[in-house]
């Protein structure tokens, strides 16, 4: 994937987070690529993680493998989510 595409995917994911979680007063530029999304950092909680999981699967037509142990690691930051989506998407 080209750098341009990665940048646009990262931005899309930020918009998805803002939209799916109904965040107020936050624009895509306020979320750092590597910023921790949950707990400290952006302050999202476990219910947001559930919501976000659903939104990501729906938007990108991918499945989060329920049996894999490290699934939730993909949700650490926008960058890790982008990498996850890229890896899962059909080429």
């Amino acid at each position: 994937m080209s750098e341009l595409n990665t940048a646009s995917l990262v931005r899309d994911i930020k918009l998805l987070i803002i939209d799916a979680l109904g965040l107020e007063d936050i624009g895509p530029d306020d979320i750092g690529d590597e910023q921790t999304l949950f707990g400290e950092g952006l302050g999202l909680d476990s219910v947001d993680a559930l919501e976000l999981g659903l939104a990501i699967q729906k938007k990108y037509g991918i499945k989060i493998d329920a049996d894999a142990k490290d699934t939730r690691n993909h949700f650490t930051s926008v960058a890790s989510l982008a990498a996850f989506v890229t890896a899962k998407q059909p080429a």
Binding site: A20, L21, G22, L23, E24, D25, I26, G27, D30, G43, D45, V47, D48, E51
Partner: protein, 559 residues
């Protein structure tokens, strides 16, 4: 004072006993009018009467007359078509101030004879909005009302003496009915006929009486300003407050200005009076009120103001002290569940208000993908300052941090709405459904017009720039200012409305932006239309200088 029991008010006429002025009415006249109404109702075969009369003395006549005739009375909360329809099946006749209904002077029959009223047969129904908003009827007997006014007289009769009773609340609800009508009638205290909703009117009425007391509500008491003659008003014998919680700050201010604490009454249409307090955190139950609690901590009330044996469940959580007085801990129906976790909205509201930036706060549930909390805030001066200097996100983030000490992350409000004042309804309440509608609604895009006047073809408008204007987020979110393009749009929209301008927007001239306009500002807008040249002149001013000005060109009016 010469106390007459409620059930004996129609026994004999007492011409020397004054009731009110403007027009003057004494007890003998009241006696005769009420007994005429009784005769009229009987002649018409009325059994169930709905009454809404703005004048407290007229209401007294209607009530006593109906009871004398054995007619049960319903006091509807309003006269909206829906309300009328709701009670249509339970009412034979509507007696109101409206021309299409029966009027008090329709009943000019020869009066029935004076008689004692039956405490258990005479009935009154009050209406209140249940927590769901659905109107609810609450039935009372004359005995319950009589017990309550006697308890009030025992407590405060001596101190009130011959004070004229001046009220800012409607007599349609239990508090106004007892305090403005039934209690003074029994005590022989003069009353002011009309509900005086403004402090200035209250002051004017007070000046006309050597002794006076106020039956008021928080809606009025917390908005009494420095424009009043407080030294003169401090002669007030007692200031009653009920209908909703009086903010501690408002009580404190009254104490400073009047050298006495307001007397707060806790109660509801369902329970009648429960308790009172005056400058103390704890509530003192009225005589004969027995309190207990259910397993959730909700206050249970049994009292002589309720039917015998009835235990009324309130939605108020309380802690009862050893001496029988109690502390209120907030409403239990305002404890919500978010993702299976119980969250007390009043507790979080109190926590928000302890922050310097927050004057008032109400929380509600915002149901979107997930349920989360939203906060409706009135900012303090320093809060408004913080908003102007650092922007909305910094403000809400700071408040979220502040709340973290009081609750889990899950309960932190995600939606914020900043308002100039809480939009209380006419009963001084803000129903939960209204809070939640505001939270889910969009942020405002138009100014709030506080006043408008026209002189010599020029309009002068007083505008409030809503602190939460939607445009403040896009432009310099960290230092919100009102964008010039929005100022032009407001001028054009208001100009179109007020001056009936129809021409299409065709350009602008000599635009000047000189001073920043910021959240919460009060500004004036001057508008003038030069029809010959098709130009709308506008100028925004703050207290000291012109903020912006210009001319908007309008094309030929649309055909």
């Amino acid at each position: 004072m010469n106390w007459i029991k409620l059930e004996r008010l129609l026994l004999k006429a007492l011409p020397a006993r004054a009731i009110c002025q403007a027009p003057a009415l004494d007890h003998a006249q009241l006696h005769e009018c009420a007994l005429s109404v009784a005769a009229g109702l009987q002649a018409r075969g009325i059994n169930r009467l709905a009454v809404q009369l703005e004048d407290a003395a007229d209401l007294a006549i209607a009530l006593l007359g109906a009871w004398r005739a054995g007619v049960s009375v319903l006091l509807p909360s309003d006269l909206q078509p829906q309300t009328r329809q709701r009670w249509a099946g339970e009412v034979d006749l509507w007696l109101t101030d409206q021309p299409d209904d029966a009027q008090l002077n329709d009943f000019q029959q020869p009066p029935l004879s004076g008689a004692e009223l039956d405490l258990d047969q005479c009935r009154l129904s009050l209406c209140t909005s249940g927590s769901s908003g659905e109107p609810k009827r609450i039935d009372k007997t004359l005995r319950q009302l009589a017990n309550e006014v006697e308890a009030l007289e025992q407590l405060w009769g001596t101190g009130l003496g011959e004070a004229c009773i001046i009220g800012s609340v409607a007599t349609q609800h239990i508090y106004g009915l007892l305090f403005r009508v039934l209690w003074p009638l029994c005590a022989g205290r003069p009353i002011v006929r009309r509900q005086l909703a403004f402090a200035e009117d209250l002051q004017r009425a007070s000046r006309e009486h050597p002794a006076f007391a106020w039956v008021a509500s928080p809606a009025l008491l917390k908005r009494m300003g420095d424009n009043l003659d407080w030294p003169a008003m401090s002669a007030v014998r007692r200031v009653f407050s009920s209908g909703g919680a009086l903010p501690a700050e408002a009580a404190q201010r009254l104490k400073q200005r009047l050298q006495q604490w307001p007397t707060e009454i806790l109660g509801s249409s369902e329970t009648g009076g429960i308790a009172w307090r005056q400058g103390e955190p704890l509530w003192q139950p009225f005589a004969g009120v027995e309190l207990s609690q259910d397993s959730d901590g909700a206050l249970l009330v049994a009292s002589p103001y309720l039917p015998v044996g009835r235990i009324e469940h309130t939605a108020d959580a309380a802690r009862i002290a050893a001496d029988g007085r109690f502390e209120l801990l907030g409403r239990l129906d305002r404890i919500v569940k978010l993702e299976e976790k119980r969250v007390s909205l009043p507790m979080l509201e109190q926590a928000l208000v302890t922050h310097d930036w927050v004057a008032e706060a109400r929380l509600g549930v915002v149901q979107e993908n997930r349920a989360s909390l939203g906060a409706l805030l009135v900012l303090s001066e320093s809060g408004l300052f913080a908003l102007r200097e650092h922007g909305r996100r910094s403000l809400t983030e700071t408040l979220r941090q502040h709340l973290r000490e009081h609750c889990e992350a899950l309960a932190l409000p995600r939606r914020w709405r900043l308002v100039r004042q809480l939009p209380l309804n006419s009963q001084g309440k803000l129903p939960q459904a209204d809070i939640e509608a505001l939270l889910i609604g969009d942020r405002p895009k138009a100014p709030e017009v506080l006043a408008q006047a026209q002189t010599d073809g020029e309009w002068h408008l007083q505008l409030n720039v809503p602190p939460d204007l939607a445009y403040f987020s896009g432009h310099f979110p960290k230092a919100p200012v009102l964008p010039g393009v929005v100022q032009v749009e407001w001028a054009l929209n208001l100009g179109r409305q007020l001056l009936n301008l129809t021409g299409a927007f065709a350009g602008m001239e000599v635009l000047k932006f000189q001073q920043l306009v910021r959240p919460g500002d009060e500004i004036q807008l001057h508008l003038r239309f030069d029809a010959e040249r098709g130009k709308l002149y506008f100028a925004y001013r703050n207290a000291t200088a012109t903020c912006s000005s210009g001319r908007i060109l309008l094309g030929a009016p649309h055909a």
